[in-house]
């Protein structure tokens, strides 16, 4: 008894404030997609802006090679180190998060962004580009840390449903060379009622309510040089499965993981999901089903808890009930007969 008490006590002491979801193990991955439909029109493409100082050496070298390949493209569309690299993407996009090393205090998260059918600086075709990064996730407070141990953001691909982020929490540190912002990106609204009556459809599986929707407080951004500029708002919104905390889908212009990869601004929408959503609306099914329009879950090795039909276990108790019922009826009949006499 004493031993059991000590065991329970030590278990309580050791368990962190942020309980990790049970699926969070080494080797687990979640892959999200933006699938380009075959009937893409000329206004349907994604924009990804890369910062030459923040992207990896390999990626920058690959983009520099594009300069040599397209001699007939205008000179001004060459990749240079003093301007943002604009990619228009006409093909599929995949975003994969992989848990690769879990210790007591931290985990390594490998994030990969795959882009297909690209135009570099809008003029120079490139078949595919892979950008990846490795992030250190502190498991005691679920924040990403840089090499000095400073907090740089929170993971976008999952939350702890029992301890979701709170309004005002830092979501992504916006410390980008040459980019003007008013503030860091912080958690704004947390909703438990968004899509509360709808099954969310994704490429991998269907999710059932409830959900937790996290929205960051938008931050205006501007990047200005002598002859070019970019302005918009840094935004982030994601919907998480209430049971597992896994992200179902999200739509954003920045995320902590994108920043680490050197992607400093993006605009995208999943045109396949959008067409699927319009189909649901046309058929009047949108009251109970919905497609999120950003990155949607595409593939994972997480085993989700599936609701099952529960059947009563087979037991002999039911015969006792039947016999008891019969006895009661017999007693009742006898009593009634006796009263009449």
């Amino acid at each position: 008894m004493k031993k059991l008490f000590i065991f329970i006590f030590s278990f309580l002491l050791l368990s962190p404030a942020y309980a990790l979801p049970s699926w969070f193990k080494e080797g687990v991955y979640v892959k999200y997609a933006l699938l380009m439909p075959n009937d893409r029109n000329s206004k349907e493409f994604h924009l990804f802006f890369l910062h030459p100082a923040l992207i990896s050496h390999d990626v920058y070298q690959k983009l520099l090679q594009v300069n040599e390949r397209w001699k007939d493209a205008p000179e001004v569309s060459k990749v240079r180190e003093d301007k943002l690299i604009g990619l228009s993407v006409y093909g599929n996009v995949f975003l994969t998060f992989k848990v690769i090393n879990v210790t007591e205090e931290s985990a390594l998260i490998n994030v990969t962004l795959e882009l297909y059918n690209i135009s570099v600086n809008f003029w120079r075709p490139l078949d595919a580009l892979n950008i990846s990064t490795l992030l250190v996730l502190n498991l005691t407070d679920l924040t990403y840390r840089d090499e000095n141990g400073s907090v740089i953001g929170r993971p976008s691909f999952f939350i702890d449903p029992q301890n979701p982020p709170k309004t005002g929490d830092l979501f992504a540190k916006l410390d980008i060379p040459g980019v003007y912002v008013e503030d860091d990106l912080k958690i704004g609204n947390i909703s438990y009622t968004t899509h509360m009556n709808q099954t969310l459809l994704t490429y991998a599986r269907n999710f059932t309510p409830p959900y937790i929707t996290v929205t960051a407080k938008p931050v205006s951004m501007a990047w200005i040089t002598k002859d070019s500029s970019l302005s918009g708002r840094y935004r982030f919104r994601a919907t998480y499965d209430f049971m597992s905390g896994v992200m179902v889908g999200s739509l954003f212009t920045i995320s902590p993981e994108f920043l680490e990869m050197g992607v400093v601004f993006t605009t995208f929408i999943d045109y396949t999901a959008t067409r699927n959503l319009e189909e649901l609306q046309k058929n009047g099914e949108d009251k109970v089903k919905w497609w999120l329009q950003g990155f949607n879950l595409y593939e994972t090795n997480i085993e989700f808890w599936e609701p099952k039909k529960v059947e009563a276990p087979e037991s002999s108790m039911k015969y006792f009930f039947i016999v008891g019922l019969f006895l009661l009826i017999i007693i009742l009949v006898k009593r009634l007969m006796g009263e009449r006499k």
Binding site: V76, S229, G232
Partner: protein, 120 residues
């Protein structure tokens, strides 16, 4: 004699025209037309989005060279939709206006205009 003269004249004019053609390639003839693009999404009279961009482009010998970024103007108008963001981008190779909207039925989308559009 006449035939020889006519032949020499013909040959001469051929050389001259060849020289002129070769000269024409090296002598850049540039012009600066206005280019523009719009993207209008309209669902009814009271629900629409209108994204536009215009600016001068440099065309030399029929080839696009650059956008004169000082001349670029972005325009964004809408009615009856919730506009989440207006993204404006300009650089010598491309200028873009993109409106990110959400309709009352919950659908989101982009209206996107970009140049060069006619002079590519």
């Amino acid at each position: 004699m006449r035939r020889l003269l006519a032949g020499m004249l013909l040959l001469g004019s051929l050389f001259l025209s060849l020289a002129a053609a070769a000269n024409g390639i090296s002598l850049l003839s540039c012009w600066y037309p206005w280019d523009y693009d719009t993207d209008v999404r309209q669902w009814n009279d009271n629900e629409w989005v209108w994204a536009g961009v215009r600016g001068q482009v440099e065309i030399c010998d029929g080839q696009f060279q650059r956008i004169l970024t000082d001349t670029v103007k972005h325009t964004a108008y809408w009615k009856g939709v919730n506009v989440i963001d207006v993204v404006k981008y300009k650089s010598p190779e491309r200028a873009i206006t993109q409106i990110h909207y959400r309709r009352t039925n919950g659908n989101e989308g982009y209206a996107t205009a970009y140049i060069p559009n006619f002079y590519r």
